[in-house]
């Protein structure tokens, strides 16, 4: 089985600085393999080992996603090889544009049975790109996947949905997005990190992928820091803990919060 893991090299907005104007400065947020994507690497590796297949990492974005560090970070997590589309035109691209380029790269890789992805990216956090990718490819796309095994002519997929665990028989090809805790990803050891340097990396040229033009553009009219964060607090002095506790409980009762 030929499995592509679509992952993101992204900054963590936990380390963002947000100005009062709502401008977000991510320069202090170090990029990394996005939080939940290692789960997809691990699921892919286990499925490929069980079926005698190959795991190809795939990431697309601006030029900053392709560095020796970013290559090593991905290739040390159980991939056989890596495919990258890094182009200035994809800096700050919206999710549908990213999904369209991913789809073109999946087609260029060829004979792909399964695309696996993480639950959602650490920065945009919508969980949308894998499902839009499925839409572009015309394949079935399922999110909330907690387990996947190979079966005759396809896959048996377990999903963790509000109504309970749902089992779906899925023919390939398909796109699956894992839950954040589907499996515990392995921690890359020194051997994995050294081995990563020897694995092949293929850089695809965006222009050669023949990606259709976007059907709409986004224009940011205004930014703001979210309102509602500021509250005026009544402060009690905790140097007398019992006194402060009694005052607080009284105030909460009066406010109807208890």
């Amino acid at each position: 089985m030929k499995i592509v893991v679509a992952y993101k090299w992204a900054p963590n907005p936990q380390d963002a600085v947000v100005a009062t104007t709502g401008e977000v400065d991510l320069s202090r947020a170090k990029p990394a393999v996005s939080e939940y994507d290692p789960v997809a690497f691990e699921l892919a590796r286990r499925l490929a080992d069980a079926t005698g297949g190959e795991v190809v990492g795939l990431t697309v974005g601006g030029p900053s996603i392709d560095t020796p560090l970013s290559r090593k970070a991905a290739l040390s997590r159980g991939l056989d090889r890596l495919v990258v589309v890094a182009d200035a035109e994809l800096e700050d691209a919206d999710g549908t544009r990213i999904a369209t380029v991913l789809a073109a790269a999946v087609r260029a890789i060829g004979d792909v049975d399964l695309v696996l992805a993480g639950d959602s990216s650490i920065d945009v956090a919508q969980g949308q790109v894998p499902l839009t990718l499925a839409g572009v490819l015309g394949w079935l796309g399922l999110a909330a996947v907690s387990a996947v095994t190979a079966a005759d002519g396809g896959l048996v997929v377990e999903r963790s949905l509000p109504g309970g665990t749902t089992v779906v028989a899925v023919p390939t090809p398909a796109v699956l997005a894992a839950t954040a805790d589907a499996v515990v990803p392995r921690v890359a050891g020194m051997k994995d990190i050294l081995g990563a340097a020897k694995k092949p990396v293929e850089v695809l040229d965006l222009a050669a992928l023949d990606v259709p033009a976007p059907g709409a553009t986004l224009a940011t009219l205004a930014t703001a820091k979210p309102a509602g964060g500021e509250r005026t607090a009544t402060i009690f002095d905790g140097s007398s803990p019992a006194g402060a506790a009694a005052q607080l409980v009284g105030a909460l009762r009066q406010a109807g919060a208890l």
């Binding site: 949308q128 109504g163 607090a233 009544t234 002095d237």
Partner: protein
């Protein structure tokens, strides 16, 4: 583009009031396309102007209708398409967005229509900033919280059944969830703890207070992912849970934006922190400046004695 129309795509869920309300805010005519059971389609008949139903799904997962939904929507090219943020909702929106080659915007709080253009007010990067974004040159596709059951008082729209073939996939088993884990979203009171906690065994200090309040225990990110003292599903913040309880207590939490966006909807916020300059004190309704190791047990005691 059909400027008068707003479409909603419904993924087998009768909770769609959020979709209908938003669609009404920007469309004279609201058309629903339903991938799911007949009862879901019927529930919308009094709330929207047209209901397009793709037939009984039998054992097909709702996601198998993505291409069919996309084809129907793309043919109409409405100004706005609205769907749910649920896994099925996102799959249908993904198919629509792929067909129209337009972005899917989430975290949406309002839409304003202006000719063919729609201006979207939305939170970005997990809620740390808000943008007003104009979608230009194509259909505006948004994902929103599905809301509750649809309450309509309009005329019953007839179900227009379309014959479509879903993608091949079969649901073979559904195992209902046994016991739900932490229900932070439904809790009236939530007690959150942060880096002010010094050791794993001290979690008991905070869970005692949560028990005295009849509330759920939660934490900021470092306790769930940095040191693993509390399970991930109890972590509140931009990439964790967003909650709106009646009462939220932030204990030993400094008040970084990345945590506070997750509790912004709380009616009353209480903060306990030893640093009187901690940013949390400008984002709470009541604060105690003091050592949480002294204040928290005193609070538990004060609640227990009913004083």
């Amino acid at each position: 583009m059909n400027s008068a129309q707003s479409w909603i795509v419904v993924a087998d869920d009768t909770a769609a009031s959020g979709l209908v309300d938003l669609a009404r805010s920007v469309g004279d005519e609201v058309v629903a396309v339903v991938a799911g059971r007949r009862e879901v389609a019927s529930s919308l008949a009094s709330a929207v102007d047209r209901v397009l139903w793709l037939g009984e799904p039998d054992q097909a997962p709702v996601e198998a209708y993505g291409p069919a939904v996309a084809a129907v929507v793309a043919q109409a090219t409405p100004r706005t398409v609205i769907g749910a943020t649920s896994p099925g909702g996102r799959a249908l929106l993904g198919a629509v967005a792929a067909a129209l080659r337009v972005p899917v915007l989430a975290g949406v709080s309002a839409l304003e229509a202006d000719g063919d253009q729609v201006v979207v007010t939305r939170s970005v990067l997990g809620g740390i900033a808000e943008h007003r974004t104009a979608v230009q040159g194509g259909t505006t596709v948004v994902a929103v919280d599905p809301g509750g059951a649809v309450a309509g008082d309009g005329d019953l729209a007839p179900l227009e059944e379309l014959a479509v073939t879903p993608l091949a996939a079969t649901v073979t088993e559904v195992r209902p969830a046994a016991v739900a884990g932490a229900d932070l979203g439904g809790a009236r009171t939530v007690v959150g703890v942060g880096r002010g906690l010094k050791a794993r065994e001290d979690v008991a200090l905070v869970s005692d207070l949560a028990a005295a309040l009849g509330g759920e225990l939660a934490c900021s990110r470092p306790l769930a992912e940095g040191v693993d003292w509390l399970p991930k599903e109890r972590y509140i913040g931009i990439s964790g849970q967003h909650i709106a309880p009646d009462l939220y207590l932030a204990l030993g939490i400094s008040g970084q934006l990345q945590h506070m966006v997750g509790v912004r909807g709380a009616k009353v916020i209480v903060a306990v922190n030893s640093d009187k300059n901690a940013p949390v004190f400008s984002q709470c309704d009541f604060g105690v400046v003091g050592d949480m190791y002294e204040v928290v047990p005193a609070l538990t005691a004060a609640l227990g004695t009913g004083s």
